[in-house]
Symmetry: C2
């Protein structure tokens, strides 16, 4: 936890917070902080800065905060991701927040098992927890916007065209003959398939919407590595 | 498992293998293959190709193999990595094999807890298992060379100079003012610190050895994401 994220409800006055949950335990047990020590903080969707511990007891910490730095700018990148298998969701969502991606749109795909949509990892509470972990690692306060589109065709036909109009569309497809572009200076939207990939029908739907299909070399990367690798190449 | 790795001991003749372990179970349960089906295979440190299942029983599969493709070339990149905390070792080692990195040198660092060196994740058997998982994902047959240097100073003074002489040295250091270079066409060696980073003393040792210190933007990435992101930028 390189940055502690503060919520509006933590504030007891304009520049004073009280923490009693995991963040308190982290300050007590990992930082082993005492009164007078400072800690890096940021307000969710707001400014970042430092805090000075004024009180620390067995069950809470009071911190006086000065928030005077802007969070890093988001990357102008949206990711359209076929729903991963449940045990991968936490890590992938956390990474997407960590990397500074602006928006995540989770879609269905032929090779996504129906049962994945019922995973407890997809509750609002869990999703928020994963995104917060990414922000706390990266030192950022602004989570990506996340939405779920359980019906492939309506999303592709009714929503994708508007997204593709303002962004360069890219679809990761190992059998493409075009390498991933690098250092682009524009908005982009990146589509990443499930394990086993999008079907040809699905890839064609993206191509019809103006997406270019690209590869990352001869190796097939896991989704989480592909996301970090492509994001890093693009920006 | 996008590629099944074969060992010399699997061969019952020049072009025939018998598998009875997890790879057999994978073919039976995940691929649900029958006689006549084909499967992608590669020989450890050798060629890749396809196999045709000739016999499948309750406890083994016999495959006739044709190995006629070269594995993808390794990236000309060595990574010098401060020993990660044990629960991260599997994922990081697997990723390093998956990304096609040529060599991994694991070193000590001030912020590495001594107990990490006793982790069962560091036995030869476990390390091989993690590397194989990366190769099976990536479709590659050549694992990175892996070595462990438990003494920081002797490694830095006696071994690093020779490595740095033939490769461009890069050290990931969030407070550097130089962004990570991209699309370099040369051998490189990349140093990555532990959680919390190398100490200034350690960073200076690398800089004395001719390393340039670089950052990846304002966000602090976890080691595994930093490795994928930097590798992808460099090549």
């Amino acid at each position: 936890m390189n940055l502690i994220i503060l919520f509006n409800t933590d504030f007891t006055s304009d520049n004073q917070v009280t923490l009693t949950d995991k963040r308190f335990e982290h300050i007590r047990d990992i930082h082993q902080s005492s009164v007078g020590d400072s800690v890096k903080l940021g307000q969710l969707n707001g400014m970042m800065g430092t805090g000075t511990i004024t009180v620390i007891t067995d069950d809470r910490v009071d911190i006086e905060v000065t928030l005077d730095q802007d969070p890093p700018e988001k990357l102008p990148l949206k990711i359209i991701l076929a729903l991963p298998r449940p045990k991968m969701i936490r890590r992938i969502f956390r990474s997407i927040a960590e990397l500074g991606i602006e928006e995540l749109i989770v879609i269905n795909s032929y090779k996504v098992e129906k049962s994945f949509w019922n995973s407890p990892a997809l509750t609002d509470k869990k999703v928020e927890e994963y995104l917060m972990a990414g922000l706390q690692q990266a030192k950022d306060t602004v989570p990506p916007k996340v939405s779920f589109k359980r019906l492939f065709k309506p999303f592709m036909e009714d929503e994708l065209p508007a997204i593709a109009q303002t962004s360069r569309g890219i679809i990761a497809h190992p059998s493409s003959d075009k390498p991933c572009p690098h250092t682009i200076n524009e908005n982009a939207v990146l589509a990443i398939g499930p394990e086993g990939g999008f079907t040809e029908y699905e890839v064609n739907k993206f191509i019809e919407a103006g997406f270019e299909s690209i590869h990352l070399g001869k190796r097939i990367l896991r989704v989480e590595n592909a996301i970090a690798a492509i994001t890093s190449k693009l920006y």
